[in-house]
Amino acid sequence: MAVIYEIKERRVIPNWRDFKRTLQLGELGTSNKAKSPIQLSIERSAVDWNLNQNIGTAADLINASFVSGIHNTPEINGAIDFVLSNKSTSSQSLLELIENIHSDKHQVNHTKNSILELDYDTVNDFQSFINNKSFHKVINRTKNRAKLELQNPVVWVELARLYSMRGHEAKAEKAILTALHLAPNNRFVLRSATRFFIHEDKFEKALFYLKRSESTKSDPWLVSAHIATSSILGKFSPFIKNGKHLLNSNNFSDFELTELASSVGTLEFKDGSFKKAKAFFKQSMIAPNDNSLAQLEWVSKDDKRFQINPFQYENVINPFEARALDLFEKGQWKDAFYNTIKWFLDMPFSKRPAMLGSYISGSLLNDKNAAIILCEVGLQANPHDPTLLNNIVYSIATSNNHDSLDKYVNQLLHVDLSGLPNESKVTLQATLGLAALKKGQIETGIQLYKTAIDNATKIRNEYLKNLAIVNFARELFILNLPEKDDMIAKVRSMKVKDSQKDLNLIRNEVLEKVNKSIGT
C-alpha cells in the first residue's frame, strides 16, 4: 500500500524550539503599554570619575553606563578609553561590557526569515542528523548544566527537548515537570510543556498545567494554547471569553495576538461560522507567526472560501510548514519536500514534517533513499509511530535494497492497531501486504491488499481505496501474477479528482509502466 499522508485536524498548538530561537522569534516579549521601564542616572558615578580617575572609578562608571543604558557621554567615553589603555588591570568581563556599550546590542534587528539550529542543503547532509554521534554529548552537556543550574527552568526545558528528539519520553517528562515546578507561570515553560504533552498524547496534563497557572488568564499566548488543546479534546475552554476580551483589549501588539486570534478563528470555523472565523483569521494575519500562518493554510485547504498565499508573508520567520503544505497542494513536490526538511530541522521532535517529507520523497519523487532517511530521523524522536514505520517499510519495500525490511516490518507488526483510526489501519494492512509480496509471501500479500481495499470501501474512503488499488496493481504487474490484469483494469477505469495530484501521479506512473511493457 502506498504511503499515506493526511492532516485530518490541525490546531494552533505552540511550537517548541530552543530558548535562543524562541527569543529571536519574539514570542517571549511583551508590549504592555500600561507599564514603562524605569529611568536610571549615571550622575553619581560620573562625578566620581571626574574627581578621581582610576580603573575602579572607570569600572564604576562603565557599569552605570551599561545598567542605565546611557551611553556616549564625555565621562563614559573617557572611562572606556582609560580601561582600554590599561587592559593589564582590567578583566574580560569589563572589556565585554565596553563592547556591549559600543555595539549597542539592544538595537539588533533580525532580518532573516529562517532561524534554524542546523541547516542542510542536501538530503545526504541531512543524513548526518541520524548518525550525529555528538548528539549524546549535547545531551550530556545539558544534563550537567541542569545539575549545576538546578533552579534554572530554561535549561530543564532544553533538556526535555533534547530527550524528546531522541524519543526518551520518560526522561523528557521528568525534565519538563522539573521546569514546571520551578516556573509554573512562565510562558516559555508552559508553551513548551503544552507541546510536549500533546506530542505524548497527554492532553489532559497539558490542560492541567495551563489552567493551574496564574499567567494563563492574562497571557494571550497561553490562552491560545488552552483553547487549542481543549479543542483537540472536543472540550470547551473556559478561557474563550477572556481570550476574545484580550483580542479587543488594545493592550497587546498584533504579533502577541496572532495565535490567539487564529485559535479562536479555528473554533468559529469548526462551528461553521464562516463570517466570524474570517474576521479572527484576518486579525491573526496582521502580524502572523509561522504557526498562525500554517493554521490558515490548513484551513484554506479545507474550505476554499479562505484564500491565502503563504509566500506573501515574507516577514514570517520559519514559515516552512505553511509553505510545505501550500507547495504540496500545488503539486510542487520538490520544493515542498525541501520545506519539510526545514520544518523538521526547525522542530526535530515533530513527526508531521517527517511524515509529509517521507511521503513526498518516497511516493511522489521516487527518491526512496531520502524517504528512508527522513523516516529514520523521525523515528528517533517517535520510535513507535505507526505512520513513520509504515512509511519506512513502504520506502524500503519499493527500493532496490531490502536489507532492513524485516527489522521495520517486525516493529510495524507490534503496533497496537486498536487505537488507530480506520484510515491508518487500511494503510498498514496494505503496506504489510506490499512487504509480504516483496518477501515472496504471495498469498499473504494478496490477502492483505484485498483486505485493505475492502476496508477502504467499507469506510467509504475512495481516495484510500484507489491508492491501494494502484499500488497493488503495480506490485502484481512487477511480479507478473495472474491477478494483475483485473487490477490494472481497475486502475484504468478509476476516476481520480484533479485535486488529488499525488494519486494522479502514482496512477500515471503505473499505467505508463504497464503501457510501455505492452508497447501501447
Binding site: K35, P37, I38, E43, D48, F66, V67
Partner: protein, 362 residues
Amino acid sequence: MNTQQDNAASSLLGMTLANDWKVIKKVEPKENSTGGFFSVCYIVNNGGKDAFLKALNFQAFFQLFQGRSIVEILTEQTNAFKYERDLLLRCKNRGLSKVSMVLDEGEAYLENFTISNVPYLIFEMADGDVRSHMNFSKDVEIAWKLQSLHNVSVGLKQLHGIEIGHQDLKPSNVLIYDAGIISKIGDLGRSLCADIEAPHENGGDFPGDLNYAPPEFLYRYIDPDWNYRVRGTDMYLFGSLVVFYFSGANMTALIGKNLDPQFSWNKWRGSFADVQDYLVDAFYKGLKEFRTLISNKELADELISVIEYCCYPIPEKRGHKKAIEQSTDREGKRKENGNQFDFQRVVSKFDILSKKAAYIFK
C-alpha cells in the same frame, strides 16, 4: 553678597570648632550628594590623626531647587542629616568596628550668613574608597580582596545586628584604612532602620544607587515585608560587590550582559514575575562567565557558591539554602522570626577564604 558667598557651610576653613577641632583643609566633595543631604567636606584635626568633616550645605539645595519652599528644604535636609547622625551614633555607641566611625558631631555658628548654623559630622579619616585599590586582572591581589570582603561582610552583619540595613553598598562606599589593611563600610546616608523611619523610605523603593540595585527593583517589584526586603537587598549588594572585586562588573551588569535585550529593565514592560525566570537563566550564564576569571578552581567554586545564594535574582529564593529552610515553614511561608539573610555564613566563609589565601590561592 551672592549665593556662593552667603554659604556658611563653605566658610568653615580656619575655624576651630567644639572639642578643639581645627578646620585645616577644604576637600572636593566626593559626590554632589552623599545620599541624604548635601555637604561640604573638610580635613580637621584636634591634635591626633586628621579626620574628615561633612558639613550640611543648605545653600546647595537652594541653588539646585530654586523656587521650592525654604521650610520644606530646611525640614527635609535637617531630617536627612539628623537621621544619618542618629544611625552613626548608634553604630558608635554599639562599637561597630567595620563601619566608618563618627568621631564627633556638632553645629557651628557663623555670623553674617542668612543661615548661620552649620551642622556637621566628623569621621575617622579613610585613605580613600576601594576603587582606588582595584586591579581586575586575573589572580591579582586575591588575598587582599578576600580580606577586604571579609571586613565588609562583618560590617554588614554588625549593621544588621543593630537593625540597620545599609542599602547602598557599592565600591565607592567601601572605605580603606591603614594603607589598605582594613576595609569599612561608609555612608549610611541611604540606610534604612527598623525602628527609625528614614526620610527616604519612599514606599519601599530602592534607596541606593540604582545602577547597583538588585534586579527586582529595576522591574519595580517591591517585597512588602520590610525585614526581608532590606536584608535581602544588602545580601544581593554584598554578592555583587564580590563580583565587582574580581571582574570589574557588578552582578546587575553581569546579569544584564547575559540577558536578551528584550528582557532588559530598560525595555521590559511586563511584570517582574514574568521576567524573573529569564533573569535566573542570565544569572547562571553570568556565574559561568565569572568562573573563567579565576584560575584556582577551589576558590572559584567557593566564591560562586556564595554569590549564587547572595545574588539569586528572585528575592524569595535568595539566601543560603539552609537559612531559607530554617526561616520558612513546610508550606514555604515565612516564619515570623526567621532570618533568611543571616550574614554569619558569609562572614565565616570569607574568614576561612582570607586565611587560606596566603598559602593556597596564590
